[in-house]
């Protein structure tokens, strides 16, 4: 988390970088000449803040995916260093091997012992390869399972930090039961008798994310995403072209705001202006405050309250149904009007007043 290291701007960040460079020039000039340029700099700084806010308010879903994947974005390992007082990493699934793509161990948060689990992406090339870029194998999910059971046995709350493009798709992963490893974690977490708190800190890639995500409270950072499939994968299947990933990202409603609206996440944690990658230390501080607050609240609850609450939380997801079978719109669309009717039809369905909450 070196904030002085230069970062390549994302395309939409370029105007911000340009203005920041101008300010830096003035600062430099002032330092070299001893001139007081505050009068000139302050309006520029105000303008920079305004511009940043404006750009970040208007980000597309795909822009946010880029932020979620930004190489300078704080990872699990960074939060381990900057959020927790101590961390004692624990290794291995006691079955096959240790998967570095899933990090786990005993940590202290503001003096309280917690079991910390999180996907690890790796910073340098060697690390990235060792971690398969954050794509865990079954061993990773089984290590998580082992450590969660350990936490349950000794009554320690669990915190999971989610940041994965998805569980690893490979021959070995399939041979060793990737699907089974994830499924078993979902079932285990549903019944764990200790508080569980999950935060999507970057990429919430499908089952690989959910595999440590069945929690009492599920939070997400402002520019993180959580999706049933990667935008590229979705585009390749439904648009028959992975170049349509931007459109897929939009259609999948994967941004923090949408997920809150769909009640998939409980809370969106704001990021510092300009994104967590610009101000990782400020981000870590916010996260620490939120985790401490959330954990305090969860630890107040009895085991029965936790289990009942967790069940109800996931039980309610996706329980809005129609009360008649889906039908084609009545008017046959002419080839000319096809595009227009295609765009209108779904909103028609969604504004159907007779939606049934079940």
């Amino acid at each position: 988390m070196d904030e002085t290291k230069p970062i390549q701007p994302l395309d939409f960040e370029e105007p911000i970088f340009e203005m920041r460079a101008k300010i830096a020039e003035l600062e430099d000039l002032s330092r070299r000449t001893g001139m007081d340029l505050n009068g000139q700099m302050q309006p520029l700084k105000d303008k920079l803040n305004q511009l940043t806010a404006q750009i970040f308010d208007g980000l597309s879903a795909w822009d946010r995916v880029k932020l979620a994947r930004h190489p300078a974005r704080p990872y699990t390992t960074d939060y381990v260093d900057h959020v927790f007082d101590s961390f004692s990493e624990l290794f291995g699934d006691r079955l096959f091997s240790d998967d570095p793509a899933m990090m786990g161990g005993l940590a202290r948060l503001d003096g309280r012992s917690v079991m910390l689990l999180g996907h690890r992406k790796g910073r340098d090339t060697k690390e990235k390869i060792a971690c398969n870029f954050g794509c865990a194998h079954p061993e990773g999910y089984r290590k998580a399972k082992r450590l969660m059971k350990l936490a349950e046995k000794f009554g320690i709350p669990i915190i999971t930090l989610i940041n994965t493009p998805g569980a690893y798709p490979g021959i070995g992963a399939e041979e060793r039961g990737q699907a089974y490893a994830i499924a078993e974690n979902l079932m285990l977490m549903a019944g764990l008798r200790v508080p569980i708190l999950s935060v999507v800190i970057g990429e919430g890639g499908s089952g690989g994310a959910l595999g440590i995500g069945v929690a009492d409270r599920v939070l997400i950072l402002e520019h993180a995403y959580y999706s049933v499939i990667s935008p590229e994968g979705c585009a390749a299947i439904l648009w028959k072209s992975s170049e349509k990933a931007g459109e897929a990202a939009e259609a999948l409603k994967i941004t923090a705001r949408h997920l809150k609206e769909l009640e998939i996440v409980d809370e969106v944690i704001p990021e510092p202006m300009g994104g967590a990658h610009r101000h990782p230390h400020a981000m870590a501080e916010t996260l620490k405050d939120v985790l401490t607050r959330e954990l305090d609240a969860l630890c107040e609850r009895s085991v029965d309250e936790l289990l009942e609450g967790r069940y109800e939380k996931f039980r309610r997801m996706g329980t809005l149904f129609g009360d008649e079978p889906p039908r084609m719109p009545e008017e046959p669309a002419s080839p000319e009007g096809e595009k227009a009717s295609a765009a209108e039809a779904p909103s028609e369905g969604a504004t159907d007043p007779e939606l049934q909450e079940d």
Partner: protein
């Protein structure tokens, strides 16, 4: 009814003959159906619709479908190359089904169970909110009645068009199974071709017993995704039932013709019913249609109350074949 739907199926050429995709043999369609949609030459298991599967596993007339009026909605207003709403409408039209799963209580050789069956013909059996809800309700019903639950899966995974809501159905169904399990309930997961993705990475992998039909594709990632990621050929038979069993992930591979009797045997071994719960008389399943069908039905009519007597598939076939 099952017969009618089968005739409409698009992947089979209309007419009297069907080509087996596995051994290329040309099969007499009537014979194929009488064989439970299994190739008589190479034992290739053709897909079954959910109704056919229920008719094959449940005692005749015992299945009582629950929540048939649970309809999907396009909550995300999802549009790819076509609106999801249109895709749903076409799937309903094409399959005559409301969604990719049905569930309800039934008996198997008189033993009550909750049966939930997925239908691959409805948008690839994909799991959106309705499918997740039906699986969950099936498990909850089984927990409530203290009956075993059997889920027959056939699915490419979570339905993309319902976004993260589909993903969360993995959690929802697994939570229900966790409760059923905590109560000591029995869950048997039957995997048919294919069972992959989010379905396999949730409830389908959580059975006390997990069995599969021969040759079923079973896995987390699809073979295409793996091939593209690794840029190499996959081993022969990769992710098929016969590959999973020696790797330790299936209890058994069961030929379709033995599936019902095997499941009944498992129930017999593992489940103790309360007194009076097991019916002493029951009807043979109505699928696959056999010559003797009419006779069997007549023999057992006294226990078949509530059975909406449907025209026998046999009769319909006879009427249509010159």
């Amino acid at each position: 009814m099952a017969w009618k739907r089968f005739r409409k199926k698009k992947d089979l050429p209309s007419g009297l003959w069907v080509k087996c995709p596995s051994c290329r043999a040309t099969l007499f369609k009537k014979e194929l159906i009488r064989n439970g949609n299994v190739c008589g030459q190479c034992e290739h298991h053709f897909p079954l619709t959910a109704r056919e599967r229920v008719d094959m596993l449940a005692d005749g007339g015992s299945f009582q479908e629950q929540s048939p009026d649970l309809y999907p909605i396009d909550r995300l207003e999802f549009v790819d190359r076509e609106p999801y709403a249109h895709k749903l409408a076409r799937a309903v039209e094409k399959t005559g089904q409301n969604e990719a799963a049905i569930y309800g209580p039934c008996t198997m050789e008189g033993k009550p169970v909750v049966l939930c069956v997925m239908d691959f013909t409805f948008i690839g059996g994909s799991m959106g909110c309705v499918v997740g809800e039906k699986v969950t309700r099936a498990v909850e019903l089984a927990t409530e009645k203290n009956w075993p639950v059997i889920v027959v899966s056939a699915s490419g995974g979570a339905r993309m068009h319902e976004g993260a809501l589909s993903l969360m159905q993995m959690a929802k169904t697994s939570c229900a199974i966790s409760r059923h399990d905590a109560q000591g309930g029995l869950f048997i997961s039957v995997l048919s071709n294919p069972t992959t993705g989010g379905v396999m990475a949730s409830f389908a992998a959580l059975g006390d017993l997990i069995v599969a039909e021969p040759g079923a594709l079973i896995g987390f990632a699809g073979p295409r995704v793996i091939k593209e990621t690794l840029r190499q050929q996959l081993p022969d038979g990769f992710q098929r039932s016969e590959f999973l069993l020696p790797h330790g992930f299936l209890d058994q591979i069961i030929h379709r013709k033995d599936l019902r009797s095997s499941l009944v045997d498992f129930l017999d071994h593992l489940w103790t019913y309360a007194e009076g719960e097991v019916q002493t008389e029951w009807l043979e399943p109505s699928f696959p249609p056999q010559e003797e069908d009419t006779e069997t039905v007549e023999e057992g009519t006294d226990t078949g109350e509530g059975d909406k007597s449907e025209p026998s598939p046999e009769g319909e076939e006879a009427a249509k074949t010159p």
